[in-house]
């Protein structure tokens, strides 16, 4: 009897252990954080810098992590990127980890609710050309997980990245060159005719035709028919070489669409964008105009009047026929 009890207890414990493990495995979440999300470095050939990155595991499972560095290229004009993991430019060799116990690409443990500091070192060779290099530093969890053996499943992996923009320059003021590829009113008919009750929204696209990245610093000035001016400050966003970027605005120190907050506009308006590269100025300019008129309500009124006149005319005819 005692033996049966012992067997039962042992069996219950084993079942309990397995169930605890399986349910815990199913409920486990994955959460990674990284800071800083962006690093911009301008440096002379032959110099070196270091930057501390902090990687966080905010999930409820201990992880085995690994890291890699890959070049990226802009993907579209919104600031998205495409990582080119299969490309191995020589500049990748300039970057390493300076941690005593961790190398780039080496696996390391990252316990739940803990963080890992990584010291990234960039050392450029003396003969480095004056040009830009764009990388993404990626940390990924090891998805090899045997908690649910025997089940049809997809294991999940997070790869979290932080972008590095590196510009090699002897002087510290690399040559910049830009082109306004597009500046227009987006929500007006034929980009000119705007309804008075519609907030005008502008699109500004800037192309980098020079050898190094820059930020356009400037604004969009909108002048109303009475001479008043409203200013939308441009958001200092990076435009990388050989790419075009749509530039947003900042309103009350927050990133925002380039849109005028006015509730009613009427008449002829001028909008002028002006900016310089990496410094405030008006080196680059473009001007457009638009006409604001209550087109929609006017159309509705005309239609109503038309229907009314038609109805009156028809009624008049009927009355005339009746007599």
């Amino acid at each position: 009897m005692k033996l049966i009890n012992k067997i039962l207890i042992t069996f219950a414990l084993i079942v309990f252990f397995i169930l605890s493990f399986v349910f815990k495995a199913q409920a486990q979440s994955l959460s990674l954080g990284i800071y800083p999300p962006l690093l911009e470095v301008t440096m002379q050939p032959g110099k070196s810098i270091t930057q501390v990155y902090k990687l966080y595991n905010n999930g409820d499972s201990d992880l085995v992590m690994t890291s890699f560095l890959a070049p990226f290229v802009p993907d579209g004009d919104q600031g998205y990127i495409e990582i080119r993991q299969d490309e191995k430019p020589q500049s990748l060799d300039w970057i390493s980890f300076q941690n005593a116990d961790l190398q780039l690409g080496q696996s390391f443990a990252l316990q739940q609710n803990s963080s890992q500091e990584v010291v990234l070192k960039i050392k450029t060779p003396e003969n480095a050309q004056e040009e830009d290099h764009y990388f993404t530093l990626v940390f990924a969890n090891d998805p090899n997980y045997s908690g649910l053996i025997g089940s049809n499943q997809s294991q999940n992996q997070i790869q979290i990245g932080a972008n590095i923009i590196l510009s090699i320059s002897e002087s510290g003021e690399p040559q910049h060159q830009a082109q306004i590829s597009e500046f227009k009113l987006t929500n007006g008919f034929a980009n000119i005719f705007l309804d008075s009750f519609t907030k005008p929204e502008f699109i500004l696209k800037v192309k980098n035709t020079g050898p190094s990245f820059f930020k356009p610093l400037g604004n969009i000035k909108i002048k109303n028919p009475l001479g008043g001016t409203y200013i939308l400050d441009l958001l200092p966003e990076n435009v990388l070489t050989n790419s075009t970027r749509q530039i947003s605005c900042q309103i009350n120190e927050e990133a925002a669409k380039c849109s005028l907050p006015s509730k009613f506009l009427l008449g002829y308006y001028q909008a002028q964008v002006s900016f310089d590269l990496d410094k405030p100025g008006e080196e680059y300019q473009k001007e457009i105009f638009f006409l604001a008129f209550p087109w929609k309500i006017t159309t509705v009124i005309i239609v109503i009047i038309g229907i009314g006149l038609f109805t009156i005319k028809k009624a008049k005819k009927t009355i005339d026929k009746g007599f």
């Binding site: 990284i34 800083p36 690093l39 470095v41 930057q51 998205y80 649910l148 999940n156 979290i160």
Partner: protein, 254 residues
């Protein structure tokens, strides 16, 4: 002899009790990971930023430089560094969370659209100006014997692949695919349309969430979307356990 037996039983009971209590107790002692007031939220209180070790050269040490450095300093130090986005005054990390470590489909039902698993994706762009989440699979769902569950191509009347979405309403449509709904999800998933996962290395990861300032993104606001992955097989599918790896790429904008 009886005393030894009693002692043995006492120790056995004690060990069993301790083991049971150990498993019944909450498994984790949680560190404080969030500070908040009505005006701010800091999800990572131990920041350790701005230390002199943040940036250095052989001759100089420099903290995180968030603005333009003084003229002339460049020629002395040989570098300029900016960490983070110039227009975001925050040191909150960019973070990404998946609600589960694996999508467990269990035993699959034939000719059925009910073999589905959900996963919640949560992003807080923190100090990043914008973000994108992309997904890719390492391979099709593969059994230990080398059989595959193919990626779905959706219904014949409205087909799909890894980049174009389509409808999946027919139980006679087979394969593995997904749909996603929530914040900052591409519009082609609207109406519950499906795609299949791009396979590495020949197919690039595809965007499933993302927003930039030009699209109306505001830094620091949490975003959530729910992905539903679906498998449907018929009786011709070789028996076995099918597995693969889904890779979620969380990348800030530049």
């Amino acid at each position: 002899m009886s005393a030894i037996k009693n002692k043995f039983n006492f120790y056995l009971t004690a060990i069993i009790s301790i083991t049971v209590i150990f498993f019944l107790l909450p498994s984790n002692v949680k560190a404080q990971s969030r500070l908040e007031s009505p005006n701010y939220t800091i999800t990572w209180p131990n920041l350790n930023m701005g230390a002199t070790s943040s940036a250095s050269s052989s001759s100089y040490n420099l903290g995180v430089t968030t603005g333009q450095i003084a003229p002339g300093l460049y020629s002395s130090t040989g570098y300029k560094i900016r960490a983070g986005f110039q227009y975001i005054h925050s040191i909150i990390p960019f973070y990404f969370k998946l609600s589960t470590i694996a999508l467990n489909f269990g035993t699959l039902t034939l000719d059925s659209l009910t073999n589905e698993q959900e996963i919640t994706l949560t992003v807080n762009s923190g100090a990043a100006g914008g973000y994108q989440i992309k997904v890719q699979e390492n391979d099709r769902l593969t059994s230990t014997t080398g059989s595959y569950i193919e990626d779905t191509t959706c219904d014949v009347t409205d087909s799909c692949d890894e980049s174009d979405s389509g409808t999946w309403n027919q139980t006679s449509t087979y394969g593995f695919g997904y749909t996603i709904a929530g914040d900052d999800v591409p519009t082609d998933f609207s109406g519950g349309k499906f795609k299949n996962f791009p396979d590495e290395p020949s197919e690039n990861p595809v965007k499933i969430m993302g927003l930039t300032p030009a699209g109306g993104h505001v830094a620091g606001i949490g975003k959530t979307a729910v992905m539903t992955a679906r498998i449907n097989i018929n009786n011709l599918q070789p028996a076995g356990t099918y597995q693969n790896i889904l890779k979620f790429f969380a990348i800030p904008t530049y």
